[in-house]
């Protein structure tokens, strides 16, 4: 079982990283949108690997089911004439490199140095503890989150509503 898990993890890592890079470098936006969906699936796979099925299900339900579709809506409403490869970078790409690279190095060092090799898999399913904590200790933040969602929804609708001439 152990090799199976490691192999599965390797597969998922390749999938996530590959798709992630694809999202950023894809020439056409629809491709990057779908690659993003694929990354989400891989991350969901990792969650399952970690034993957190509920979170994996939520991840798929929310990210793949709703957010990707929403972004696809966004993609379809905006022009995506495929640009020649080099042109779609922002003017500040060199500056970006200047800043992102050192941070990446720093964080990578910290991340990869993280020796804790104990198995990350959990014991039983995480449905019960998650449910108890959300509706127990974090009930109030949960309500606030729902208000936030409502506000965002109303805001988005108002922002985009075309005032009937």
């Amino acid at each position: 079982m152990d090799i199976f898990g490691a192999a599965f993890f390797a597969l998922l890592t390749i999938g996530t990283i590959g798709a992630g890079v694809g999202v950023v470098l894809a020439n056409r936006i629809t491709t990057s949108a779908l690659l993003m969906a694929f990354t989400f699936l891989n991350v969901a796979g990792m969650f399952v690997l970690l034993g957190a099925e509920t979170v994996a299900m939520f991840q798929v339900l929310i990210y793949v089911g709703a957010i990707t579709v929403l972004i696809l809506y966004g993609v379809m409403f905006t022009p995506q004439s495929p640009r020649p490869y080099g042109l779609f970078f922002q003017t500040q790409k060199y500056w970006a490199a200047l800043f992102v690279v050192p941070i990446a190095i720093f964080v990578a060092v910290v991340a990869f140095e993280f020796r804790d090799s104990a198995a990350a898999g959990g014991s039983g399913g995480d449905l019960v503890p998650l449910a108890t904590s959300i509706f127990g200790d974090f009930a109030f933040p949960f309500e606030v989150a729902s208000v936030l969602l409502l506000a965002a929804m109303v805001g988005a609708i108002v922002l985009v509503k075309r005032d009937e001439e």
Binding site: Y63, F77, R83, L148
Partner: protein, 103 residues
């Protein structure tokens, strides 16, 4: 399933930086939005990894992930709304060309 925690953290770090690079580099607003989603996902991964690793002590770690879902969904909705309204006012989604808010 004995995959070390370090591996998960490494993957999430790499994913996070791909997202950041995407935000800083890509010219199309929608792609920036996607890269932000990637970054959020990376954090989710790290959170769940830690919460599962220390589940014996306090298994409530992954609650925060739920809240990140909520925020991500709200963020995409509002982000897209903004992009669309910006698009309606000037027919471009290109971040470099949207300069009306210039000081």
């Amino acid at each position: 399933m004995a995959v070390p925690l370090g591996a998960f953290i490494a993957v999430s770090a790499v994913l996070f930086f791909i997202g950041t690079a995407g935000v800083l580099v890509r010219r199309n607003a929608v792609v920036i939005l996607m890269s932000v989603e990637l970054m959020l996902n990376a954090t989710n991964l790290a959170l769940v990894a830690f919460s599962r690793r220390f589940a014996s002590i306090d298994e409530r770690g992954s609650v925060f992930v739920v809240f990140i879902f909520v925020v991500a969904a709200a963020e995409v909705a509002v982000g897209l709304a903004i992009i669309l309204s910006a698009y309606r006012n000037r027919p471009t989604v290109d971040v470099d060309e949207i300069r009306q808010m210039k000081g």
